[in-house]
Each structure stands twice: as structure tokens, then as C-alpha cells.
Amino acid sequence: MTSRRLVLTRTAAIVGAASTGLLLPQIARAQGNKVRVGLMLPYTGTFAQLGVAIENGIHMAIDEKGGKLGGREIEWFKVDDESEPAKGVENANKLVQRDKVDVLIGTVHSGVQMGIQKVVRDSGTLCIIPNAGVHAATRALCAPNVFRTSFTNSQPTLALGKVMVDKGHKKAVWITWKYAAGDEAFEGFRDSYTKAGGTIIKELGLPFPNVEFQALLTEIASLRPDAVACFFAGGGAAKFIKDYAAAGLKGKIPLYGSGFLTEGVLDAAGPAADGIITTMHYSDSLDTPRNKQFRLAYAKTFRSQPDVYAVQGYDSGQLLLQGAAAVKGDLNNKQALYKAMESAVIDSPRGRWTMSKSHNPVQDIYLRVVENKENKVIGIAAKALADSGAGCKMG
């Protein structure tokens, strides 16, 4: 008897507390003089490391310039998007509607990005994309308030085709996962490779995130191409590299790829990765004073080595700084803000780059080869490469 009453009163108490809990936050949001910056990144799950790197880069950029945006203090808001597309819209709304951020920086996963894109297009909130390469964000779904500081999925592979043909590999097999990012990476490869005179003898795909490559590696061997081009990332990339070598294809059929094949996985892949040629808008080993300075500072501050994601985060910070400076911190002055960001020149560790008309970086794509667990830069595969921005209608 007493236990039941106890439970009932407790339930009532919980319900009461819960409702006040729900009501409370909206009482306290006074609009101070701080700029509200919202970070929507993966803090858990497969891409957690990328989220951390991006955030580190953002903080580093802003702290370097005094920790303020256009003279105003910053109030940070964070949401873990868990790389879960089903929650993309609701998580973005947490920042845009609940926390009323002035700018939303996010995210890594393209499926989640689609959710963010919907919310920021509807609300007009300034949004900076520090990684997700989904084409639509700066093509069909572009918007004046959306800027990307990373890449489109096809940019790295757009620079790959000609390189392969120049090296005499005129017949290639393409392999990737069958999902949006893989399809978009293929688009870049197909366009550049066929334009340069190459023939794609077969396009292989396996379901995402399947990592049993044996069947398709056997298929590649029987097709006897001059070279193989691919797009894989993360754990799957490490496995592909190792399986490729273990199947004896390494050395017999040269392997090329979008740079993500060899990003963050070289420790795991080991010597199997030596000789793989990739194209990407950055490389850890880029031998420029700017990059060296950046890497030193990052390592000192965060006690770990930066990667392309940290650079993209850093550049997001720089872009925001430039925009805020141009409007002296008044982020509501949208016209001037957007204009400043559109015409920004970013002095990035990857090299200087500018914004394309559809708000995507126009940047150099480097040619890299793996040597001893490092992506050594051996040249520039494409200078000032811009994404087509096809279908983007702004303003």
C-alpha cells in the first residue's frame, strides 16, 4: 500500500519536474551581446574523431585572433548529431530554434547535412559546412546563407582522371560503396577520366557498409584493367588497402583513389598502402610554411596531429572571422556578411582558396603518394578546381 502511494507521488513529482524542466530553458535565454555559435558535429559513433578534429580547428582559428568575432564575445552551443540522419532535422532545430544560434557550423555526415540544409534554408540562419561533401548543398539546394569550407564529393576525383591517363592507364575499373558519396565521387572520376581519353571498363559497387571485398577483388583481377580507382573511407578503406595487397594486386594493378582512401588509416593499413596515389585538397605532409606553422601550433595546443578535418574546421573559423570582421560583429547585417564571405580569401594550411559562386571552395587539388605511412605530395593534380555548382539558383 505505502509503496504504491510512494510510486504515485513520485510519478507526479517526476511529471511536475519534467514539465518545469521543459519550461525552464525558455525563461533564461536573454539575448546578451554575445555571438551565438552552434556546433553540430558527431561526438559519438564512427565519425567521432572527425567531429573532435573539426571543433579543435574552429577553436584554434578563433583563439588565434583573440577569441572574438567582430569584437564580440562568443557563446558556444554544441549538439551531438551521432551521424544519425533520422535525427538531423530535430538536432539542427535544437541549435536554430531552441538555442537561437547566429551561425551553425556542421556537419560531417552527408545524410545529416541534408537535414541541416532543410532547417537553415527555411530559417535563413548562417551555416558553414566543415566537411559533408554532398553535392546538393552547393548545387540544387544552395542558399545565400550556406557556405562550405571543405569539398564536394566529386572534387578530389575530378582531378584524378587526367593523372591516371597521363600515366598511361587508359583502361580502369572503378569500385566504391553504393551510396550517395560513392555515386558522387564516381561522377567526378567518370567526367575527368573519360574527358582525358580513358575508358572505364567496369563500375563495381558493393552495398554500404559491407567490407567483404574478396569477391570484387577477384573480379578486378579477371578484368585485367590498367589501374583501379576507388572511393572508400575510414575502417573500410583500411581493410580495402590490406585486402588489395593481400590479394597480390598491389604492384600488379596500380591503385588510385580519392584522398579519403588514405586519410587517417595509414597506421592501420601499414606497408600495404605504399605506392597508392590519391588526390585531395590537402595533405599532412604539404611542405609549405603556412602548413608547417599550422601543424606546429595545432600539435602544441591539442597534443595530437591535425588532419584534413582539422584544417577544414580551422578554415571554417577563419571564414567566420572574416565575415564577422567585415560587419563588425553585427551578424544580422546579412547582405554585407554574405558579400564578405563570398569574396573571402582564406589563407589556409592547404593553400589559398576562394569561394565559388555556389559557395564551395575553389582550391588546388594535390597529387599524393603513400610512402611510409605518409601521404607525400608529388604535385598539383588540378589548380583552382571548382565544383560546377550545376543547378544552383541563388539570389
Binding site: 583481377a221 579477371s222 581493410k239 597480390g248 594493378i253
Partner: protein, 287 residues
């Protein structure tokens, strides 16, 4: 597809199938003998892989990692059974599903706290790192043959254990009729603990053995979980023989499906399972 290609793909199918068997064996054991649905199976696999990585990178020896890992996993399995699972044998499947789902969350987070979220590689011991040439441009990694060998040894070992030893007899008795076995003097509590620990150890060791080939990364358990369940269900719950046949079948369908029907490749295994269950609603070799 010419004959050589076909044969090699067949080899790929068998090798993949054997690996799946190693993954599914632990699941079908726990499932079949004790009636416990264990969704955390994939997490054990992942823990095994991370264990293999950290021990082998600390000590430099892969063999030591496997031995140590096997021992640790048996201890872990015993502890888990004693503390948690023991109280769930009589509960309905739903509670078990919920319990193990909660465990998945916990294991993922613990893994993240202990080992971080990076991608890691485990080095194959040098004696096993060669490749056997099959054709002029394709070789077969010796390590995969080694894995297949381990799986076959495992299959034989399990078979002998379950059908030829006293322990196996008791296990089968306990699975068939628990109360009767207990009345006849079989220490059911101990049997259950042993079987559970074996199941956990099988999953963990599978993760360790496969780690050089699969790499070690977050969320690697969830992919393994679903396919293990598919194998177990196709084979018939509780049947180790069924799990072996089902695993080989799934290996065949997956391998040839990727090459011949890439558009449907993602769905093929599930279509296979649905087809089998429509024909034999309790799996191929129901107990």
C-alpha cells in the same frame, strides 16, 4: 565467368562462410542451449578486436594477444552470466532483447572511453603474412587460409565436444529438458555458465582472429550482429551443424551476389533468409 574465376569465387565463398560460422557459432550456442537472445554478440566481437589490437601493440605478439584474450573473455563471460544473464533464462525474449540492447550501448561507450574512436590495424604475424599465387595477377592471402583452418578446427571441436563428451551430453540434456536434467543430478547452473562463457569466448576470439583482416574501428559490431543472426536463423537455432551449412550458404549467396547481381546485393541475404523461413519456418536444421 570462366572456370578459374568461378573456382576462385567459390574459394572466397567458402572462406567467408567459415568466418561467418565462427561468428555465429557462439550465438547459436547461447541461443539454442539457453534460449537467450543476445544482441550484444556483436559487441563481444568488437571487444575481441580491440583487445587484440591493444595487447598485440603493447606486447608485439599476436599469439599472446589471442591467448590472453581468450582467457579474459572466458572470465568476462562467466562474470556476465553470473551477474546478469543468469536471471534472464526464465524471462521472455522481449526482456532479453531489451537487456542486450542496453548492453550494446554500454559496451560501445566503454569501448570509446577505454580505447578511443580511431581506426586501428592489427599486424599479421610474419609467418602468416605471405600470399599464395592463384593466377598470374591474383594471390590468396595465407592468413585467410589460416582463419579458415581455425574455423574448421573450431567446427570439429564443437562437434566433438557436444556429441562425444560427457559435458556435451549434459549440455544437450540441459537444453532438452532443464528440470529433468537437474533432477538427474546435472549441475545446470554450472553448465549454463560454461556454455555462456563459451559463447562469449567464441565471439571474442572470432573478433581477435579476424582483426588483422577486418581492421579495428567503432561500430564494427553492429554489422556482424545482423549477419550472425541471419546465419543462425537460417541454420536453425541451437544447431551448430545448421549454423555451418547456413554460413556456407550465406557466403555463397553474398559472394556470387556481389558479382552477378550487384543491384540486389544488399538485400540478397535477407531474401535468402525469408525464402528459407518460408520453406522451413524453423530453419534448416531445427533442434
Amino acid at each position: 565467368m570462366d572456370l578459374a574465376n568461378f573456382l576462385i569465387q567459390l574459394l572466397n565463398s567458402v572462406q567467408y562462410g567459415l568466418l561467418l560460422f565462427m561468428l555465429a557459432a557462439g550465438l547459436t550456442l547461447i541461443f539454442g542451449i539457453m534460449g537467450v537472445v543476445n544482441l550484444a554478440h556483436g559487441s563481444f566481437y568488437m571487444l575481441g578486436a580491440y583487445l587484440a589490437w591493444s595487447v598485440s601493440s603493447m606486447t608485439g605478439s599476436f599469439t599472446l594477444a589471442i591467448i590472453l584474450g581468450a582467457v579474459l573473455s572466458i572470465v568476462f563471460g562467466l562474470a556476465l552470466e553470473r551477474l546478469l544473464f543468469r536471471h534472464f533464462y526464465d524471462r521472455d525474449h522481449l526482456s532479453q532483447v531489451l537487456l542486450t540492447f542496453g548492453l550494446i550501448y554500454i559496451f560501445e561507450e566503454v569501448r570509446s572511453i577505454l580505447w578511443g574512436d580511431d581506426v586501428h590495424g592489427v599486424k599479421i604475424p610474419d609467418i602468416l603474412s605471405a600470399s599464395l599465387p592463384l593466377t598470374d595477377n591474383l594471390s590468396y592471402p595465407v592468413y585467410r587460409l589460416f582463419m579458415s583452418g581455425v574455423c574448421i578446427a573450431l567446427a570439429i571441436g564443437l562437434y566433438l565436444l557436444i556429441s562425444k563428451t560427457r559435458l556435451g551430453m549434459k549440455i544437450r540434456a540441459g537444453a532438452f529438458n532443464r528440470d529433468m536434467a537437474e533432477a538427474l543430478g546435472v549441475n545446470i547452473k554450472l553448465i549454463h555458465a560454461i556454455v555462456f562463457a563459451m559463447g562469449v569466448a567464441l565471439a571474442t576470439v572470432a573478433g581477435m582472429i579476424a582483426s588483422p583482416v577486418s581492421s579495428v574501428y567503432p561500430n564494427m559490431g553492429s554489422q556482424v550482429l545482423i549477419i550472425s543472426f541471419v546465419v543462425v536463423v537460417i541454420g536453425g537455432i541451437g544447431s551448430v551443424r545448421g549454423a555451418l551449412i547456413a554460413a556456407l550458404l550465406v557466403g555463397l549467396v553474398d559472394t556470387f551476389g556481389k558479382v552477378l547481381l550487384p543491384q540486389l546485393a544488399g538485400m540478397l541475404i535477407y531474401m535468402l533468409m525469408a525464402a528459407v523461413l518460408l520453406w522451413k519456418p524453423e530453419g534448416l536444421f531445427r533442434q
